[in-house]
Amino acid sequence: MTGVGAEPAVAALVEDAGPPPAAHRERRTRSALTRAGWFVASVVLVCALWEAYKAIGSPDGWSVFGVRVLPRADDASMPHVWQVLQRFGRPESAAEDSSSVAVAVLDAAWFTFRVAMAGLLLGGAVGFGLGMLMDRFAIAERGLLPYVVLSQTVPLIALAPLVVGWGGRLHIGALIWRPWMSVSVIAAYLAFFPIAVGALRGLRSPSPHSLELMRSFSASWWQSFRRLKLPASVPYLIPALRLAAASAVVGAIVAEISTGIRGGIGRLVIEYSREATSDPAKVWTAFLGAALLGLLVAGLVALVDLALVRYRPSGAHR
């Protein structure tokens, strides 16, 4: 046919259906186990490095031209791993009814967790709402996006006492403003940003063809939002959620510290660090509590990711 209209062969002619689902599931379980193994190994490695530095490092640290570049290795600055672990089991204070440090740290982490999650929910809702608004109306994008970006340059430390001050004077119907709500608002202030940007990008991600297809089905705005834009935005929302969750935790802890609100892990860090000279292991328990909190939040996001796995691109659900 003298090559008229001959198309470059793009798609392969191979028509296979891929491996059966059972194989996928098995592979996924195995990769989850591998990941857990690596995590445990890395924790062990960090502990080993810590102890190794204590063994060979100088108790006065190591200075170059009067600037200390390596920390002191003495017991006051770097307690042994086991000392920290032991400290969890002993009472928090000399008072007779004092609970163990483990209970105090877990209590505080749980408090901060709830406050941070409230902030994440609020920030997620506001962020997604803004993303939707900016996707729907170009004028909203032009008007709002600069402020959304600007909002993140305001120093959090300065903002926190301000929010607490406003909160105290706030009367919305029957709502009684609690101090923890101020902390949640500050956490939300950090969390909304990645969600807003991720939602905007995700909702804009469907190809023009997909949008035309929905139009050809005479789908309403809501129908194409629910059936096309929302599912298509999941791959953008998951990383945004991961960032937002971490920001919410950081925001909550920083807000606790800068406003002095009781009950959370931020406050505990402050309290325990005051005893650092007499009881060096204690403050590290609070640090570990904060780390645990971060792990918990990251784990939750991973669960959400797993639940939405089929919305991931390039068939990651295999």
Binding site: M1, V4, V10, L213
Partner: protein, 278 residues
């Protein structure tokens, strides 16, 4: 195969014209206005298979989008099934398929086919049955519960065709649906499309830039000139029911030559292919 089927185009009720274009023009406004189409007058009969062909940038895809009411004309009127293009779209009188299959990868193959039915509020069981029927029609009965990513390009395109047929439209609009496929898959799908069109009695409006494809598929080939796109010639292709032998028949070659000359005759002088024409 089945030569006994009566031709649906012979007097099909009160409305015999599936698509009527009257003085249609489209100018895209911008820093410099671009006239994509001008003075298009064309009537497509019900049951007819019509192909738009032309050089890159002649506005053939634009013309299809006007019929689909995905964009609006700046001049003239588009009538589909005796109503305005907009009303026809709202009534879902047509199904459409693009060069990209555009399947939603988070939906199984069957659920992709079900999408237009879902939007129309069909219940689950009815949708399911209909999707199975359609996947059988396009030769994919074993892939109902597969994920789009597990299919080859040709198979994905079949799913897209099944989806376009879902609501049983009397008009099928296709924008280079086989453009990204290799030659072998392409020829097979062409044969299947003529079969599907014959069996369903649907009118098909098809956009391509492949001359043999246009000749093989169509009852009439509409040749468009480069920008602004105008109809320069309409080549009727009375080759009867298509089979594999059609491609090797001398009449087929004669028609290919005729279409090629029609294309050359009007476009020889001005073929600066516009970059962004889709």
């Amino acid at each position: 195969m089945s030569a006994a089927l009566p031709s649906p185009r012979a007097g099909d009720g009160p409305v015999s014209e599936a698509v009527q274009l009257a003085g249609v023009g489209k100018t895209f406004r911008g820093r410099t206005d671009v006239t994509a189409l001008a003075d298009i007058d064309l009537a497509i009969e019900a049951g007819e298979f019509v192909t738009f062909i032309g050089p890159s940038g002649c506005g053939k895809s634009t013309l299809l989008r006007l019929i689909a009411d995905l964009i609006e004309p700046t001049a003239g009127t588009v009538t589909v099934n005796g109503k305005s293009a907009r009303q026809a779209r709202l009534d879902q009188d047509y199904g459409i398929a693009f060069q990209q299959a555009g399947l939603m990868e988070w939906r199984t193959v069957a659920r992709n086919v079900e999408l237009p039915l879902e939007l129309r509020g069909w219940d689950r069981a009815r949708r399911r049955t209909r999707a199975r029927e359609l996947l059988e029609l396009v030769g994919l009965p074993d892939f109902v519960d597969s994920w789009p990513i597990e299919l080859s390009g040709g198979m994905q395109q079949r799913v897209a065709i099944a989806r376009a047929l879902a609501t049983g439209p009397k008009l099928l609009l296709m924008d280079e649906p086989f453009g990204a496929l290799d030659e072998m898959t392409r020829e097979r799908l062409q044969a299947e499309l003529t079969r599907i069109a014959r069996e369903s009695g649907a009118t098909v409006v098809f956009v391509t830039h492949s001359i043999p494809e246009a000749v093989y598929l169509s009852d009439r080939v509409v040749v468009l000139s480069a920008r602004p796109g105008r109809v320069t010639e309409i080549v009727p292709v009375p080759l009867g029911d298509r089979t594999d032998d059609t491609r090797e028949a001398p009449e087929f070659y004669a028609k290919v030559t005729e279409v090629r000359e029609a294309l050359r005759g009007r476009t020889g002088r001005a073929t600066v292919p516009a970059a962004e024409e889709r």
